[in-house]
Structure formats: C-alpha cells, structure tokens
Amino acid sequence: MIVYVNGCSFSHGHNALIERNGKLWPQHLSNNGYRVENESLSGGSSHRSLRMCMDRAMRHGQKNQEVDVIICQLSNPHRGEFFHQDLGMYINYITNRFILGEKEIEVFKQQGFTTRKDTQFFNEKGESIEDVYFHKNILWHNTVIVPEWQRQIEILALCNNLEKLCKIKGIKLLFTAMSSICVPSYHGDMTLMPYITKPMSHIIGRTGSLVESAEDNHPNEAGHYEIYKYILSELKKL
C-alpha cells in the first residue's frame, strides 16, 4: 500500500532527531509494510501540505503514480507559502525567515546568496534572502491585511478541495494536525470542517517522556512511536 505524507517537522523530523538518526512515525509505517513517500518539510505550512497533497492526488492514475492513502498534516496557520513568479517556485515562511528546502537553497545560491549564518543566507552586499524577496511585505500582507478568519476559511477550502478530489479518485485521505491551533475553524462552524484526527501534540503532550525536552516539544523517538501507533489505528478506520 502506497502512503503519501506531507506535513511539518512533526512528520519530517526536527533537526536533533534527524542528527541522531531517530525514527519518525512515517518510517515506522514503512517498516510495517507500507510504502511511504514523505515530502514533509520542517517549518512547512498547511498551504504547502495541502498544495502538494493535491498535486499528488492529481497525479494518481498516471503511470507509476498510484497512491492509496494520503496523510495531510496541517501546521501552524501563521506559517505560509507564496509563489515567486520570477523564480518559478514556492517559498515557505515563518514569522522571522523563509523556510528553504535543498532545491530552494540551490536556486538562491545561484542568485548569489552564498554566505550562510545560522539559518539565513546572505549575498555579497550583506542582504539576506528575506530582505531581497520581500519577507516583511509577505508577512505583513498575510497577518495584517488578511484577517485570521480568512486564512482559516482558505485552509478549509483547500481541505475540502482535497477531500473532494480524493473521493473522486478513490484515494483514502487522513487529515491530521501538529496541534489544536492548526485545526482550521470558521467562526466555530463545524459544517466546513473535514474529519481531522486528534492533534499530534495531544498524543505526546507538551512535556514529559515523549517530547524532546522541556523547551522543545517536538516528539522524540518514543513520541514518534506513539504517533505512529495512533496514525496506524486511524488508517485502519478509513
């Protein structure tokens, strides 16, 4: 059975876990006979997950593109992504910087952003990618100009698009979320909300033996195993 997964660090694995080769919940699924394609991104937005799940569902039916289950993990609604027309690619962002995958880093290196300091890249003039590619403008636009409810209903709209497409294409779909704030809600009206599993943070808690540390509530290895068991039980219900 082919399972496609897209989410944020709760599905991609946070840096500390990756560095010590810790196992993620999608990897436990792989070991249980599922063929897992995991395109999650640490810091990725719900918009990215939904867009890429939609693309994946669209490709189902083409040669070598079959998929049986899509697991779409929603993330913090204040994260986002935009499409840069000139660069022809999507860029995800959080409040203080862009979130770049390997492909995006390569494109920006070609644009002269070759000096890395922590998580940011700078060009010869000392400008960061965020300076040059309007991070502040995008953030301002999406937090000040676009009201909260509008972001929520847009995410719901994209969830409902994906649900409709999966139904038509015969693909099983599971929505899950990092935490309860990632579950979209339109003024509390439940009609528009698809079924979304218990948020992952409810499974592992905010502190305790299933998270990385008191300061970092990413799931550790034991946390990922608990999430895996829960996701498996949800998959069986589909």
Partner: protein, 247 residues
C-alpha cells in the same frame, strides 16, 4: 421563495442601466419571490462567495442562493476599524487592477470617506473622468490602503493555479454549507474566464452570462460595452429561471 444573489455588474446592473431605470435580471422575478441582491458593480468572486457563505450561515429561511463569479484578478481587501480615524466598523473594499471599487449601495461611502478626509473627483462612468478619492496630503485612497502591494501580492506572489484553487475551494465550502442547510445553490459566471477550472473538483456552473447575451448585438449595451441591456437581462433571467427549475 427567498433567493439570495451575489455577483458583479452583470447581476447588480451596470451604471448606465441603473441611471435610466432599467432592470437587472434579479429584479425580474415574480412578486411572490423574495430576492435579496447584494451584487456590486466591480465586485469580485471573493466578495460574492464570502457574502453568500455569511448569508447561508446567518439565515435559516433562504431557499436558493445564486452565486455569480466575476473576473479572477479582482479581489477584496479587509480594512480594520482601527485603521480608520472615524468609522468604527471593519469594512471590506473590493478592488480591480487599477483601483478600489466603492460599494455605494451598502455604505454611505461619500460621508465615510469625507470623515476620513478624502474628497471625490470624477465619477468613473464610461467615457468620463475616473473616480478618485484624495486627502489633503494628496494621497489617494489606494495609496493610503496599499492597493499596489495587494496587487503585487496577487499578481507576483500567487500562482494563477493557486488563485483558481482558492476560489474553487470557497465554491466547495459554499456547496457544503448549502447542502447542510438544505439550500439550493446555483453557480453562474459573468464569462467563461471567471469559472475556475480544475478537473474533477469544479462544481456545476451554468452557461456564462456573456454566452447568453453575446459580446455585441441587440442584447448588450453597445459595441464598446458588453454589459447586458434590458433585453439582455431578460434573456439572462429566462435562462436562470430554466436553471432554477432543474435544481
């Protein structure tokens, strides 16, 4: 029967038609049909969908919703009350590529903007000076409320495909709500470019209104203005009635 309608000038009636007392298709229903028409000249699909959704949620007595989509490049912007000096409510402003669109039917626009320090020049009628609001600093309304940034974000920071999926998602939201509340729903559009087209998930849309009235000929205003005239609106009305009978 109670019908809620929201669209652009093809449902509101364009200014020329209104000035001569002509009736848009929404006004041609029998008297036993109660029609609420919140359409706006220059209104966007985002506005039409938002207001349809709000009305379906708020009202339990609607029988039918007719949502008429418009040009995809049009949008809607939210202005918070705290951004205004005197007006104490949040407002929405619709916009096109070249400026904001004022909603004279729903707001006392001139009073509100006067209070905010903006005075109008021009009316924006076809062939006349463009309507512009300017304050004492010489700023236009578009300058003050960052119209250019909004257009930049829409045009340069959003893919057309994503915009289409956003509109389509809102259509599917509305469809879900209507189904849950037992309200009949009809999607229609000004012309075919207004209909988001994504295989498998696009809901049923009627024939676009511009197909019914044509781009020129006896059913439109003139060779340079393809808004439906009185005869055009009557044809649209007849077509919409036939579509409603199929629901």
């Amino acid at each position: 029967m109670k019908i809620y309608i929201n669209g652009c000038s093809f449902s509101a009636g364009h200014q020329g038609l209104r000035d001569r007392g002509g009736k848009a298709w929404c006004k041609l229903f029998n008297q036993d049909v109660s029609v609420i028409n919140d359409s706006l000249n220059g209104g966007s699909s985002f506005r039409a969908l938002r207001m349809c959704i709000e009305n379906v949620i708020a009202n339990d007595d609607l029988d039918v919703v007719i949502c008429q989509l418009s040009k995809m490049e049009r949008g809607e912007m939210f202005i918070r009350a705290e951004q205004l000096n005197h007006f104490d409510r949040d407002v929405y402003i619709n916009y096109g590529l070249d400026g904001f669109v004022q909603d004279y039917d729903r707001y006392e626009v001139l009073d509100i903007l006067n209070q905010e320090g903006f005075k109008r020049s021009g009316h924006g009628y076809i062939g006349e000076e463009k309507e512009v609001f300017r304050n004492d600093l010489g700023e236009t309304l578009e300058d003050k409320f960052q119209h250019k940034i909004r257009i930049f974000n829409d045009q340069m920071m959003t893919s057309n495909n994503d915009r289409e999926l956003h509109i389509l998602g809102l259509c599917n939201n509305l469809k879900l709500l209507c189904k849950a509340k037992g309200v009949k729903l009809l999607f229609t559009a000004m012309d075919e470019k207004c209909i988001p087209n994504v295989k498998h998930i696009t809901p049923y849309f009627t024939k676009p209104m511009s197909y019914i009235v044509g781009k020129q000929g006896p059913l439109v205003e003139s060779d340079t203005d393809c808004h439906p005239n009185e005869d055009g609106h009557y044809e649209i009305y007849r077509y919409i009635i036939s579509e409603l009978e199929k629901l």
